[in-house]
């Protein structure tokens, strides 16, 4: 951490910040930073935290019904990890002066976003595997570069999160492998889950670069390291051989190897659907937020009691 004296002038602060970024060093909580950077970081981290929390629901939906005890343990541990990720991310946001209760409030009142992928329903146990493979896979593509985020606490949280996500991704893929070796109806379940999640997974990288207005500033600040389209291409290139190995197809007639580019060509996601879901009109937006709000509201008396008890205990000491 770089200590800045109180007398430092605004211009110096800004140039010191710029230099830190330029040298790919990290901004730490007590460092001076432009207000816009702080706000951008809080929003980015909060949305990421919200995504972990909301992301517990589609998978949590299958814990009690997991078809083997081993799978149940794996899934339960995964959903629990997501709660843990949410906790460190909210802590990282708090280092920027945000308040967790306030962020939760924004989430449950629909005033702050989370990853749109979680607005799709999970309709069979294969969805658990596909979320691990494709959704966590896409998340990792997005997040690995964030381990080098210019904001220190976020970058460090991402290191830990990415490690766990890779583990989840392998578990998801392994579940699908097992199911593909099973019965016809298991194979159907896997293919159907892939059909439902493939396009939404591609949309996880955000809109095409030419419609992504914040990318330039974010890249300049080192809070984003690759463009949406770059990451999307990387994900497609990585996923196609995995799908072949698994024995499933992606629902994209335009998907084929382009030897010239050295990449897979692929079709255009339905961006109307993307924007509809972002704006709250996906198949599960209302359900996810209502569920979170109801858990939050029903827990209010517990949180109040904990505070009251803490105050009493402090008084007694």
């Amino acid at each position: 951490m770089t200590v800045i004296s109180d007398q430092t002038q605004p211009d110096e602060l800004q140039s010191h910040f710029d230099e830190t970024i330029a040298r790919e060093r990290r901004i730490e909580p007590r460092d001076w930073m432009p207000e816009a950077y702080r706000k951008t970081m809080i929003r980015q981290i909060a949305q990421h935290a919200h995504s972990e929390i909301i992301g517990m629901q589609p998978e949590g939906n299958w814990i009690t019904r997991a078809p083997s005890l081993r799978r149940k343990a794996v899934l339960l541990a995964k959903v629990q990890d997501e709660a843990g990720h949410g906790m460190y991310l909210y802590s990282a946001a708090e280092t920027l002066g945000a308040d967790r209760a306030d962020l939760t409030d924004r989430l449950v009142h629909g005033r702050q976003k989370y990853s749109s992928i979680f607005n799709y329903p999970t309709l069979s146990y294969a969805d658990v595997g596909v979320i691990g493979w494709l959704v966590d896979g896409a998340a990792i593509c997005n997040q690995v570069p964030l381990c080098r985020s210019s904001y220190g606490p976020y970058g460090r949280a991402m290191v830990r999160i990415c490690k766990e996500e890779s583990f989840h991704q392998r578990q998801g893929y392994e579940l699908l492998m097992t199911m593909m070796r099973g019965t016809d109806s298991q194979r159907d379940m896997v293919q159907q889950a892939v059909d439902r999640f493939w396009w939404p997974a591609l949309m996880m990288f955000g809109p095409p670069d030419d419609e992504s207005p914040n990318t330039e500033q974010s890249m300049a600040w080192g809070v984003k390291r690759h463009t949406n389209d770059e990451l999307r291409q990387r994900f497609v290139d990585m996923s196609v051989p995995q799908a072949e190995k698994l024995g499933v197809t992606f629902p994209d007639p335009d998907l084929r190897w382009n030897a010239e580019r050295g990449h897979y060509d692929f079709g255009t996601p339905d961006w109307d659907e993307f924007w509809a879901v972002v704006k709250g009109n996906g198949p599960c937006n209302a359900q996810r937020v209502a569920h979170r709000k109801s858990a939050h509201d029903e827990g209010a008396w517990v949180r109040e009691a904990a505070l009251a008890h803490a105050a009493k205990s402090a008084g007694r000491r």
Binding site: G182, E304, A306
Partner: protein, 251 residues
């Protein structure tokens, strides 16, 4: 032998079903810290259940695996106490049951560490640490809620009142246990130790010990005999639904 297998099912089913009820809290807890703690406890119990069910399949010579027991038995074949079946009315009831259950199970496992069955002894040795954490977690919340606000005090007391009729059954000696001296734990013998702890926690939490009468059995049968509450069928319907929809599948 069959008795040892049945005893393993008793201990395993207790853990399996309470884990199920805790799993139902995931995404519904009052705080993220509680999501992770409840998730941990549910995982620990699930782990205990898996080892115990697997042990049952070895002990009875059928070589049935953990999933065979969890997903393909009928209601009457489950041997858990009825305490673990009830749906939680709220967070207070969840921690009330968890306190009672984990205090009791911890006492059992402490004794089981010296069981003549080496597998049970090993499972118990590992479980003691886990259950100590579960009990302490529950006790902390009981105290916080009992000695928190008027509302939380009322709910915490109501939580204990609701589960108390099911407590007596935990200490009821069962022929399967008594047929396994030095292997199984004498349930009746655990009562005093458990009572001391519960009374201490209740007093610290400014709560009254309920004096509810024990929930009757049916024709002298209780959970350990495969006689369950009406809630249990719904648990199994959910727990077993996917596995049973795909009888030939591997997962």
């Amino acid at each position: 032998g069959q008795a040892l297998a049945t005893y393993c099912l008793m201990l395993g089913d207790d853990a399996l079903i309470l884990s199920h009820r805790l799993q139902q809290w995931m995404t519904r807890a009052p705080e993220l810290e509680e999501e992770t703690a409840i998730g941990n406890i549910a995982l620990d119990l699930l782990g205990q259940a898996r080892m115990l069910l697997a042990r049952a399949g070895k002990a009875d010579g059928t070589d049935r695996d953990e999933d065979r027991f969890a997903f393909w038995r009928a209601e009457r074949e489950f041997r858990n106490v009825r305490l673990v079946e009830r749906a939680d009315a709220d967070f207070a009831e969840m921690v009330a049951r968890l306190l009672v259950f984990s205090t009791w199970r911890l006492a059992q496992f402490e004794a089981l560490r010296t069981s003549r069955d080496p597998v049970l002894a090993a499972i118990a040795a590992k479980g003691v640490k886990e259950l100590t954490y579960h009990r302490d977690y529950a006790a902390r919340w009981v105290v916080r809620l009992g000695d928190g606000t008027a509302e939380s005090h009322r709910r915490m007391q109501a939580g204990f009142e609701a589960i108390w009729p099911l407590v007596d059954e935990l200490f009821r000696p069962h022929p399967v246990e008594t047929s396994l001296p030095a292997v199984a734990v004498d349930a009746a013998g655990l009562r005093d130790g458990v009572d001391v702890i519960l009374d201490t926690v209740l007093a610290t939490a400014t709560l009254d010990r309920p004096d509810a009468r024990p929930l009757a059995g049916v024709r002298g049968q209780y959970g350990r005999d495969g006689l369950h509450t009406e809630a249990f069928g719904y648990i199994l319907a959910e727990l077993q639904s996917v596995a049973r929809a795909h009888p030939d599948a591997t997962w």
